[in-house]
C-alpha cells in the first residue's frame, strides 16, 4: 500500500474517525484501507467496496460512481499525482482518476517509475479523409449525430481524447474504432464542440474547436415541417372560409377566427406530442418527466468565495458578472472552461460586489443521496479552484465558452 501525499496542504485525517461515519450505501464500505484529503476539496476513502467520499460536516460516507476508464471494485490506496489526478491502486493495477469528473485511465506499468519527459499533451491534430482539418471546421454528422475523425496528439502514456458541447461542462469520452475516433452523438442542429487530447496523468491539451451539423430527421426538418404546417394551416383556413363565402361579415369573421383557433391549438398539441421547444410559443411539455428512486444521486453546483480572515461564503454567478438567474452547471461553464483570465475577471467583479477582496474561489458539486429518511449530503467534489495550487492542467486556456 502506498500513500504518498505530494502537497504540503494534503492532510491526513485520523483513521479511527471513518468507521464512525454512517455509510449512505446500503452495502456499506467494507474494510477501509486508506484515506486522503484533497487540498480545498473532499476526503477520499479507499475501501473494499470502492472509492468513497466523506462529508465531514454531515458525517457521512458515500460511494462514488466512477466513470469511464476508472477501476471497479476494491481500492487499496490513494495519492495525488497532480491536482487533477487522483492516483489509486486497485486489484488490477494503478489508475489515475479525475477527482472532479471521476473518469480515469489505467497507468501502464512501464510508465510507473519513469520520469515524465515532457509536459501536458501537444495540441491535437484532427483529420478527415486523409487531410488535416483547420480549427473551427464545419462537419456534417451521420444520422445518429456522430462524426468519424482521425485524431493525433503527443501525450505522456499515449493520447486519449475527450469532447464537450459548447455550453456543456462534461468532457465525454471519444470512442475509438480501429484507427479512427467516433465523436458524438450530438443533438439535432448546429453545435460547436471542443475536442481535447488527454495524457496518462489526465492533463488536457488546448481544445480543438469544430462545428458539427446534425440534420433533423427528414420529417422534422424546416424544409418539410414549415411547408407542411403552413399547408395545413392554409387548408384549415380555406375549409373554414369557403362554406361561408357570401353569407355576410359575421359568418366570415367567425370562420376566420375558428381557423385561427384550430391552427393555434393544433400547433400546441403537435408541439406537445413531438415534443419540441424551438417552436416557442408552441412547445413540448416533457419537463420533470425523469424519475428518481431510493439511492438516486443529485449534484448541485456551488461557488464559494474565501474572503480575508478565512470566512467562506456561497455566491451566485450573477455576483461575479455572469448574468444567469440560477446557479446551474451550464452557468458555470465560463468559469470551468474559460481559463484563468475569465476566473480572475469573475474574482475581481465578485470582490467589488461583496466589498471585500476574494482570496480564493472554489467551485463545487455538492452531492446529495436520496434516502427514505430524506436527502442526505454525500460529500462535495471540487470542480475548480482559483488561484490554483500550481499550474492548472484544465483545458480551454482562453478557449470558447
Amino acid at each position: 500500500m502506498f500513500i504518498a501525499p505530494l502537497f504540503s496542504l494534503t492532510l491526513l485525517l485520523q483513521s479511527p474517525a471513518f468507521p464512525a461515519l454512517p455509510c449512505l450505501s446500503p452495502e456499506g464500505t467494507g474494510k477501509i484501507h486508506s484515506h486522503l484529503k484533497q487540498p480545498f476539496g473532499p476526503v477520499f476513502v479507499a475501501a473494499e467496496r470502492g472509492l468513497f467520499v466523506a462529508d465531514l460536516e454531515a458525517r457521512t460516507l458515500d460511494l462514488l460512481d466512477l466513470r469511464d476508464g476508472a477501476p471497479r471494485g476494491e481500492i487499496f490506496s490513494l495519492r495525488f499525482e497532480n491536482p487533477s489526478c487522483l492516483q489509486v491502486r486497485a486489484k488490477d493495477g494503478i489508475y489515475n482518476i479525475h477527482p472532479a469528473w471521476l473518469f480515469g485511465r489505467k497507468v501502464a506499468s512501464k510508465h510507473r517509475k519513469e520520469k515524465e519527459p515532457w509536459g501536458p499533451p501537444s495540441s491535437l491534430v484532427a483529420a478527415r479523409g486523409g487531410s488535416n482539418l483547420p480549427p473551427g471546421s464545419r462537419l456534417a454528422t451521420d444520422a445518429a449525430g456522430r462524426v468519424r475523425l482521425a485524431l493525433k496528439a503527443k501525450a505522456w502514456g499515449g493520447a486519449t481524447f475527450r469532447w464537450r458541447l459548447q455550453g456543456h461542462h462534461l468532457w465525454r469520452p471519444v470512442e475509438q474504432v480501429g484507427s479512427q475516433y467516433l465523436l458524438g452523438p450530438i443533438p439535432p442542429g448546429r453545435h460547436k464542440v471542443f475536442v481535447v487530447a488527454m495524457d496518462e496523468n489526465l492533463r488536457f491539451s488546448s481544445p480543438f474547436p469544430l462545428e458539427l451539423l446534425r440534420p433533423l430527421p427528414k420529417g422534422l426538418s424546416k424544409a418539410v415541417l414549415i411547408p407542411v404546417a403552413g399547408g395545413l394551416v392554409l387548408m384549415v383556413f380555406l375549409l373554414s372560409v369557403f362554406p361561408v363565402l357570401g353569407k355576410g361579415r359575421g359568418p366570415l369573421r367567425r370562420a376566420l377566427l375558428s381557423a385561427v383557433a384550430v391552427s393555434v391549438l393544433g400547433l400546441q398539441v403537435f408541439a406537445a406530442i413531438v415534443p419540441h421547444a424551438k417552436g416557442w410559443p408552441f412547445v413540448g411539455f416533457t419537463m420533470y418527466t425523469q424519475t428518481y428512486h431510493a439511492q438516486s444521486l443529485l449534484y448541485r453546483p456551488v461557488i464559494r468565495a474565501l474572503l480575508e480572515g478565512g470566512k467562506e461564503v456561497e455566491v451566485s454567478p450573477s455576483e461575479g458578472g455572469i448574468t444567469v438567474p440560477y446557479t446551474t452547471f451550464r452557468s458555470l461553464v465560463p468559469l470551468l472552461n474559460g481559463g484563468p483570465l475569465r476566473l480572475e475577471e469573475f474574482r475581481e467583479t465578485l470582490g467589488r460586489n461583496l466589498g471585500a477582496p476574494v482570496q480564493r474561489l472554489r467551485i463545487l458539486a455538492e452531492r446529495t443521496r436520496l434516502t427514505p429518511g430524506g436527502p442526505k449530503p454525500a460529500g462535495a467534489l471540487l470542480l475548480g479552484l482559483y488561484p490554483p495550487l500550481h499550474r492548472p492542467s484544465s483545458p480551454d486556456q482562453g478557449g470558447g465558452k
Binding site: 459548447q166 455550453g167 442542429g189 460547436k192 424546416k222 414549415i226 359575421g250 369573421r253 367567425r254 377566427l257 375558428s258 385561427v260 383557433a261 393555434v264 391549438l265 400546441q268 398539441v269 406537445a272 415534443p275 421547444a277 424551438k278 417552436g279 416557442w280 410559443p281 408552441f282 412547445v283 413540448g284 411539455f285 416533457t286 419537463m287 420533470y288 418527466t289 425523469q290 424519475t291 428518481y292 428512486h293 431510493a294 438516486s296 443529485l298 448541485r300 448574468t323 444567469v324 438567474p325 440560477y326 446529495t368 436520496l370 427514505p372 429518511g373 430524506g374 436527502p375 465558452k401
Partner: protein, 483 residues
C-alpha cells in the same frame, strides 16, 4: 347529434351571443398590467445581453427559437433593444389604458414575443409564458377595448355628441368570448400535457416520492429541505400534482370545477416557487383569470360582504372575500413590487383597489344632470365610463320621473341651473362642488382630487363652471329645450 346541431353548439360555445364585454375588458386590464411587469422582469437580462452584443461579444451561444430564425433576426444590439423597449412599453401602457386597444394589442403581442424570444435565445425556452404570449394575440382578435377602456369612454363621448344617451353602452358581443376561450384551451393544454407526459414517459413511478424529493433538491427552494425530508409529503404532493395536471381539462367540461383547479394551480405554483425556486410563475397563473367570470365578481363581492343567515356562512363568505379580493391582489402587487417601481405598482393598483372597496358599498350616488345639454351629456359619458365601482345612478331631470320622487326637495329651477350630486344621508353637492366630490369618489380621478382643494382652485372652478352652465345654450354645446 346531427352535423347542424353540432355546428350550432360549437358556434354557441365559441361565439355566444351574450358574451360579456366587461369580462374581456377586465382580462385585458390584467394581462396588460402583467405585460408591464413582464417587460421590466425580463428587461434586466435583455438589456445586459444587448450591451454585451454592442461590445462585440455574445452573452452565450445564440440559439434562436424558430420564428426568430425564420425572420432572420440575429442577436439584437443595445440600440435595437432600446427602440423595442420603448415601443413595447408604450403599447403595453396604451393597451392597459385601452386607448387604440386593437392596435396596441397587435403591436404589443409580437413585440412581447420578440422580447421573450431574445431572452430565451441565449438560454432555452421556458413554459411560463406560452399561454401569456398566445393570450396577448388572442386579445387582438376580440373587442378587448369595448369596455373598461379609454376607447369605450371616447365612444360614449362621441355618442353623447351625436345627441345619443351616454349611458347606453354595449354590454355583450358575440366575439367577446372567442379570445377567452382560446386562452382557456391554451391553458388546458399547458397543464394537461405535462401531466400526460409524466404518465406516458415516467409512468406511475413518478409518484414514488423520490422523484419529487429529487426535483426539489435539484432546484433547492427555501422550503425544499423541509418537504424533501418527508417522503410521505413528497408522495402526497406528487399524487396531487399528477391528479391536477392530468384532469385539468375538467374545467372545460364542468366550469364549476374551476373553484378546485384554479386554487390548486395557484397553490402548485406557489409551492414550486418555495420548494424549487422556479419564481412565482405569475405570468402563468394570472392568465388563469380567463376562467373567472370577471363581470360577476363585483356582485359576488357584494353578496359575500352582506351578513348571511348563519354566523358560519357569514364567516365563510367574508373569508373567501378576503382571500379573493384582498389577499390575492396583495400577493400579486407584492410580486409586482419586486420588479416594478412602487409608484408604477400603485398606479396600476389604485383603480383596482378603490373599485373593489366601492363594490362593497350598498349605497349609491344620484347624479342629476340636464339630458338636453350636450356638454352635460359628454361630461356624463366620461363620468359614467369611469365608474368602475358601479356606484353612480345617473338621472336626467328632464326625462326621469324618479328624480322628483327620490328628491322632492330639489326644484326644477335648481336642477336646470346646476348639476347635482346627492349622496346617502341626503347630502347634496352642486355645480363645481359636485364634480370635486366625484373626483374623490371615482377611483380613476382620485389622484386629481387633492389639486381641486388647493387655495384659489375652488373659486376659479366655481367661476368657470358658472360661466359654462349659464351660457351653455350660447357656447354651442348642443343644448336643446328637450324638457
Amino acid at each position: 347529434m346531427n352535423q347542424a346541431s353540432f355546428r350550432s353548439r360549437l358556434t354557441a360555445y365559441w361565439f355566444p351571443s351574450r358574451a360579456s364585454l366587461v369580462r374581456l375588458g377586465g382580462l385585458r386590464l390584467i394581462l396588460f398590467a402583467l405585460l408591464i411587469f413582464d417587460i421590466f422582469n425580463y428587461g434586466q437580462t435583455v438589456f445586459a445581453d444587448a450591451a454585451r452584443v454592442s461590445n462585440g461579444e455574445l452573452p452565450g451561444p445564440w440559439r434562436p427559437v424558430l420564428f426568430l430564425e425564420l425572420l432572420h433576426l440575429g442577436p439584437p444590439d443595445l440600440g435595437t433593444i432600446r427602440i423595442v423597449f420603448a415601443i413595447l412599453l408604450a403599447s403595453a401602457c396604451l393597451g392597459f389604458a385601452g386607448l387604440l386597444t386593437r392596435l396596441s394589442c397587435w403591436v404589443a403581442a409580437p413585440l412581447s414575443a420578440y422580447w421573450t424570444a431574445v431572452a430565451y435565445a441565449y438560454t432555452q425556452p421556458h413554459h411560463d409564458k406560452v399561454a401569456f404570449s398566445i393570450a396577448l394575440f388572442a386579445l387582438a382578435l376580440g373587442p378587448s377595448g369595448a369596455r373598461l377602456s379609454l376607447d369605450s369612454l371616447l365612444a360614449r363621448y362621441r355618442r353623447a355628441r351625436r345627441g345619443e344617451d351616454p349611458l347606453q353602452v354595449p354590454k355583450t358581443d358575440p366575439f367577446a368570448m372567442f379570445p377567452i376561450r382560446l386562452i382557456q384551451w391554451t391553458l388546458v393544454i399547458g397543464y394537461t400535457a405535462p401531466g400526460w407526459s409524466k404518465l406516458l414517459i415516467a409512468g406511475p413511478q413518478w409518484m414514488n416520492g423520490y422523484t419529487l424529493m429529487g426535483i426539489m433538491m435539484e432546484h433547492h427552494g427555501p422550503l425544499a429541505p423541509f418537504f424533501a425530508s418527508r417522503l410521505w409529503l413528497c408522495v402526497l404532493g406528487s399524487v396531487l400534482v399528477f391528479f391536477v395536471q392530468t384532469t385539468f381539462a375538467a374545467v372545460l367540461i364542468w366550469p364549476k370545477a374551476r373553484w378546485f383547479y384554479l386554487p390548486g394551480a395557484l397553490f402548485f405554483h406557489t409551492m414550486t416557487w418555495l420548494t424549487m425556486d422556479t419564481g412565482p410563475y405569475i405570468t402563468l397563473w394570472l392568465v388563469l383569470c380567463a376562467f373567472l367570470p370577471l363581470e360577476r365578481l363585483p356582485l359576488v363581492a357584494r353578496l359575500w360582504w352582506r351578513r348571511s343567515r348563519t354566523m358560519l356562512r357569514t364567516l365563510l363568505h367574508r373569508t373567501l372575500l378576503f382571500l379573493l379580493f384582498f389577499a390575492l391582489p396583495a400577493y400579486v402587487l407584492w410580486i409586482f413590487a419586486r420588479i416594478l417601481p412602487l409608484w408604477v405598482v400603485l398606479l396600476i393598483a389604485c383603480p383596482f383597489v378603490d373599485s373593489l372597496v366601492l363594490f362593497l358599498r350598498s349605497s349609491r350616488w344620484d347624479l342629476i344632470y340636464d339630458g338636453g345639454c350636450g356638454i352635460c351629456r359628454r361630461a356624463l359619458a366620461v363620468l359614467a365610463a369611469s365608474d368602475w365601482g358601479m356606484r353612480l345612478r345617473v338621472l336626467d331631470f328632464r326625462s326621469s320621473r324618479a328624480v322628483s320622487l327620490r328628491h322632492p326637495d330639489l326644484t326644477y329651477e335648481e336642477m336646470d341651473t346646476d348639476i347635482h350630486l346627492v349622496l346617502p344621508g341626503n347630502r347634496v353637492y352642486r355645480g363645481f362642488d359636485a364634480y370635486r366630490k366625484l373626483a374623490w369618489l371615482i377611483p380613476l380621478y382620485s389622484p386629481l382630487a387633492p389639486f381641486l382643494y388647493l387655495p384659489g382652485v375652488a373659486s376659479l372652478g366655481r367661476k368657470i363652471y358658472r360661466h359654462v352652465a349659464d351660457h351653455r345654450s350660447r357656447i354651442g354645446c348642443g343644448w336643446d329645450q328637450a324638457g
